[in-house]
């Protein structure tokens, strides 16, 4: 897709005015990752209650795609059922962002937040839920993203 299509008003708006930016004190999940290729950094905090995402925030630095993607992802999962969030796929994220046909380098920017989310869920499932089967699935999915 052309850059005029990528850098639509809405992406720039989420880049410049990210929703759910910040940290949660004592979160249930705190997960950080960085993209070794470009140096983008992302940290995501989650609170999970009654099998729902009770709260989610993120901080980070990086390109418009990675930051808008992270912010939109937090909006997407806020209040959602935990089981649904576990199922989120690469396609869901790109759909939500309205971004298609990104090249192999830039698609990583769009998926960094999902990678961080899945890695966070892995830790949560392992440590708090003792559910190794689901946890391993999350880990595989996270590392399969790129």
């Amino acid at each position: 897709m052309s850059s005029a299509d990528i850098y639509r008003e809405i992406i720039l708006d989420y880049y410049r005015n990210p929703r759910n930016y910040g940290k949660i004190p004592n979160p249930d999940v705190a997960q950080r990752d960085s993209n070794p290729l470009c140096g983008d950094e992302l940290e995501m905090h989650l609170n999970i209650k009654d099998n729902k995402i009770a709260d989610v925030k993120f901080t980070g630095k990086g390109c418009a795609i990675s930051q808008a993607s992270a912010s939109m992802l937090t909006e997407l999962i806020m209040g959602k059922d935990f089981e649904e969030v576990k199922k989120l796929s690469k396609e869901d994220i790109l759909e939500n962002l309205g971004l298609h046909d990104l090249g192999p380098a830039r698609i990583k920017c769009a998926l960094l937040s999902l990678k961080v989310l899945k890695s966070g869920l892995y830790s949560y499932l392992t440590e708090k839920m003792k559910d190794t089967a689901s946890a391993d699935k999350m880990k595989e999915e996270a590392s399969g993203l790129y």
């Binding site: 960085s34 070794p36 290729l37 140096g39 090249g103 192999p104 380098a105 830039r106 590392s143």
Partner: protein, 414 residues
């Protein structure tokens, strides 16, 4: 040209160097394939094409050239994984060659896991690259290096392996899947089985096996595996280390630098994901891409047919060479159970003199210790001559070799 399981006339057309004359007018008979093979135009063009059309550094840029170059480089990783049936693409680490692959293991896993009085077991028919790194490691750690002996038929004496394993102090067993001097094909699966039964790690040097026969890592079951592109139609400067993911994850990095890091800070640094953690600096991009074309070429022929052709030509060569007066051949004599590498000596002609003489007839063989001085000591010779075959060699070429050897014999009055 004789009928063969492969279409040898068609294949030879892909190797323009085989049309070349040496010493003015002698057609080249290239029988030094165990040292390095020739390259088909498909490989040469893959490299030129990269430089002519999409040369760029990889992994870190977003422009179009970089994306094309990155995709092509990473595609070879997939091809390699499939070629040797490795479980995962991220277990394929690109290095310069077999030598660097083995040193990488010695510097990382070796230094982490081998301690004082531990034993590293290798064999008497190893290439120097599978001996010297372990000597260096053993010296640093106060560990010992021991050798599985070679019997008079050129086979490893596995009962010696058992004796070392029984000590309970062996940390690594490392051996070549095919000897580059004797042509012996090691009983790899059996060796791995014995080691695994004792929880001992195994490194297999596939430098001579991968080019010449189907290798299936999942069947083999070893922990580390190494080979070189240049011995299998690929360019110089590329090789592969394969290791099981859990081992690679536990290993400290080898070289430090670009691409292998996640975050660098002044006083601490974290590592990139596999396999990049072990690929520091700008890799040999063009040649990795060329290596992909070499694998395509071999896959198109089929490794079973490559092997069949070599068995046929090796059988013929063993027969013809045996008829020469004063000939001594080292290694197994059953072509069906050995590789296409034949080492020999002719009377008291020193291999260097022999190679010089037959070079005049256009025949390129290797002479010397073949980077296997420990084996030379075992065979009680200072050197051997070695003829080694590949997909483009013919029985006619074996005949040229035999005629040239007879001329040498006459010159030396044997």
């Amino acid at each position: 040209m004789q009928a063969s399981v492969i279409n040898i006339e068609k294949i030879r057309k892909d190797f323009p160097i085989l049309e070349r004359k040496v010493h003015k007018d002698k057609p080249l008979v290239y029988l030094d394939n165990a040292a390095t093979t020739q390259k088909p135009v498909q490989v040469i063009e893959a490299i030129s094409n990269y430089y002519l059309n999409y040369n760029s550094n990889i992994h870190r840029a977003v422009h179009e050239l970089a994306e094309e170059a990155t995709a092509a480089y990473e595609l070879t990783r997939d091809k390699v994984a499939k070629f040797i049936n490795a479980p995962r693409r991220e277990e394929i680490v690109f290095v310069r060659g077999t030598t660097e692959a083995i040193n990488l293991v010695a510097y990382t896993w070796g230094r982490q896991n081998v301690g004082k009085d531990d034993i590293i077991v290798t064999t008497e028919y190893e290439h120097h690259s599978n001996i010297v790194p372990w000597q260096l490691l053993a010296k640093e750690k106060g560990a010992r290096i021991e050798y599985v002996g070679v019997d008079d038929g050129g086979q490893l004496m596995l009962e010696q392996l058992d004796r070392y394993l029984e000590t309970g102090r062996v940390k690594l067993v490392t051996f070549s899947q095919m000897s580059n001097v004797l042509g012996t094909i090691s009983d790899s699966e059996e060796i791995v089985r014995r080691c695994k039964a004792r929880g001992v790690r195994v490194l297999v040097d596939g430098a001579q096996s991968v080019p010449h026969m189907k290798v299936d890592l999942q069947r083999l079951g070893c922990d580390f595996f190494a080979f070189s592109a240049h011995k299998m139609l690929g360019p110089t400067g590329v090789g592969v280390l394969w290791a099981r993911r859990d081992l690679l994850e536990g290993m400290v990095p080898f070289n430090g630098g670009g691409d292998m890091i996640r975050e660098v800070h002044k006083y601490e640094t974290t590592w990139n994901d596999l396999p990049y953690k072990f690929e520091a600096g700008t890799p040999n991009i063009a040649d990795v891409i060329g290596f992909g074309a070499a694998i395509d070429y071999l896959e198109a022929i089929g490794m079973d047919r490559v092997r069949e052709h070599e068995v046929e030509i090796t059988r013929y060569a063993l027969e013809k060479l045996s008829e020469i007066k004063g000939m001594k051949i080292y290694g197994p004599m059953d072509a069906g159970k050995r590789g296409g590498v034949i080492s020999f000596n002719l009377g008291d002609i020193h291999p260097h003199d022999l190679a010089t003489i037959i070079d005049e007839d256009g025949v390129a063989i290797r002479s010397g210790h073949h980077c296997a001085q420990v084996l030379m000591e075992r065979l009680d010779v200072s050197a051997t001559s070695r003829a080694s075959f590949y997909i483009y060699n013919t029985k006619d070429e074996v005949d040229v070799l035999v005629r040239a050897l007879n001329r040498a014999r006459e010159l030396f009055r044997i």
